[in-house]
């Protein structure tokens, strides 16, 4: 019986929840280890050994220790290829390349403006940090341009990389969840027909519902 993998970090972190969604999707058992970020635990030497940039998540599995949520997800999909959703990262090189393309698009084009908005609108108020209206406006404009491209793409295909739900769609779940459910910017997604349809489908995955429950529980 395999030892559960270990994930370090709070489930409300977008990057941590990206990894949790992948683990649920692949039916890989995990142990979630709490990191108290309000007490600066992520900046202490103990944690820096696991993640030298002092960020969550960190991850351990059978003697390896890795970080960066998208690297962790790819590792989980490769190592546990035969578990859970077998097609999550493609079952042939061309499918995998297409999924990688959209994971990169998420990381390079979608994530910067959406994570800035998540911080400004969902986290800053809770942390008593003043919101920056200029930053919010600029990033809303950037995100809108990206979502216009997604609207066109999702008119051509059911999911970003093709006909099946993949790691590329999964990567978008954490930031979008906050924006749609926790801020007044949800209309960026819901007012675009194809993007709205895509969001309804991907957020209805059982694996994502489990992550949302975990987030609510903490």
């Amino acid at each position: 019986m395999a030892t559960p993998v270990k994930v370090y970090g709070p489930p409300m972190s977008t990057a941590v929840s990206r990894v949790l969604a992948c683990l649920y999707e692949k039916n890989v058992e995990f142990e979630l280890i709490s990191i108290n970020m309000s007490k600066g635990e992520h900046k202490k030497p103990e944690f820096l050994k696991l993640q030298p940039f002092g960020q969550v998540p960190a991850f351990e599995d059978e003697g390896i220790s890795i970080f960066e949520s998208r690297a962790i997800c790819r590792y989980v999909c490769d190592k546990y290829a035969d578990k859970g959703n077998k097609g999550l990262y493609g079952t042939n090189p061309l499918a995998k390349a297409s999924i990688d393309q959209w994971i990169e698009a998420e990381g390079q084009s979608f994530n910067p403006p959406s994570s800035t908005l998540v911080f400004q609108l969902a986290f800053a108020p809770r942390m008593n940090i003043k919101q920056d209206k200029v930053v919010i406006r600029q990033n809303e404009e950037k995100l809108s341009k990206v979502l216009d491209i997604y609207e066109k793409r999702l008119g051509e295909a059911r999911f970003l990389a093709g006909d099946e739900f993949s790691l590329a769609d999964l990567s978008h779940l954490p930031n979008t969840q906050y924006l749609v459910s926790g801020t007044d910017k949800g209309n960026l997604f819901t007012s675009r027909e194809n993007v709205g349809r895509w969001w309804d489908e991907i957020s209805s995955q059982d694996s994502w519902k489990k992550v949302v429950d975990l987030q609510k529980g903490t």
């Binding site: 190592k79 090189p93 995998k96 390349a97 990688d100 066109k152």
Partner: protein, 215 residues
């Protein structure tokens, strides 16, 4: 067998990331120049290759790919048996390489690219460097390079003993920063400095630089 076509611009770091990979893998390819000064990258023909209107894009037979880091991975896996080994088949070793590929994409590149734009590309195209952006981003790059210095003190390359995509992805931005005021950030960190010298001297990278001299 259909030729590999790499579409892009020779001043683009992302385009160069793909070109150097093709050379490392000793692959024949056709370089198709995209004239960004006339907005060619925003026209319908190019948008069919990259809907974000950015360079580079790759065509190989029916396959069309965009995002340089997805292209390099595809090439490295598809041609695993040719040229330089840039990935690992062993999942534990590849996991470490994947980590540092993400570090480049998420921690290093966002900061380095801003400095490349201000100190490397703006002077080339007759625009004025914004000193405030340079002053803001040099300390950020310094913090990232502190982590790299620690890593490279224990590991010859970022992913482990061997040169991989994790190192290669850095080369185009590094080259731009060498010879600018930001070079001091590398020079003052001995392991980083040695690593930079090593990976920018590779024959495949010299071939990409030779392309710039021809075009």
């Amino acid at each position: 067998m259909a030729a590999i076509k790499a579409h892009g611009s020779l001043i683009s770091t992302a385009t160069n990331r793909v070109l150097v990979t093709l050379y490392e893998k000793e692959l024949e390819f056709e370089f198709v120049s995209v004239d960004m000064s006339t907005g060619e990258h925003k026209k319908d023909h190019f948008l069919s290759l990259n809907p974000f209107g950015q360079v580079p894009a790759l065509e190989h037979g029916d396959l069309k790919l965009f995002e340089s880091r997805a292209i390099t991975k595809y090439v490295a896996y598809e041609y695993a048996n040719k040229g330089t080994q840039l990935i690992h088949q062993d999942s534990k070793k590849m996991a470490i390489t994947l980590v540092w590929m993400e570090v480049e994409a998420q921690q290093y590149d966002p900061v380095a690219s801003k400095l490349v734009w201000e100190l490397g590309i703006k002077p080339l195209v007759g625009m004025v460097t914004d000193k405030a952006i340079v002053e803001e981003n040099e300390p950020k790059l310094a913090k990232v390079l502190d982590v790299y210095e620690n890593r490279l003190a224990h590991s010859k390359y970022l992913g482990g003993d061997c040169f991989t995509l994790a190192d290669l992805h850095h080369v185009p931005t590094l080259q731009y920063l060498l010879g600018t005021q930001s070079q001091k950030l590398f020079d003052s960190r001995p392991h980083v400095s040695a690593w930079v010298a090593d990976i920018t001297a590779r024959p495949a990278w010299l071939k990409v630089q030779a392309m710039r001299n021809k075009h």
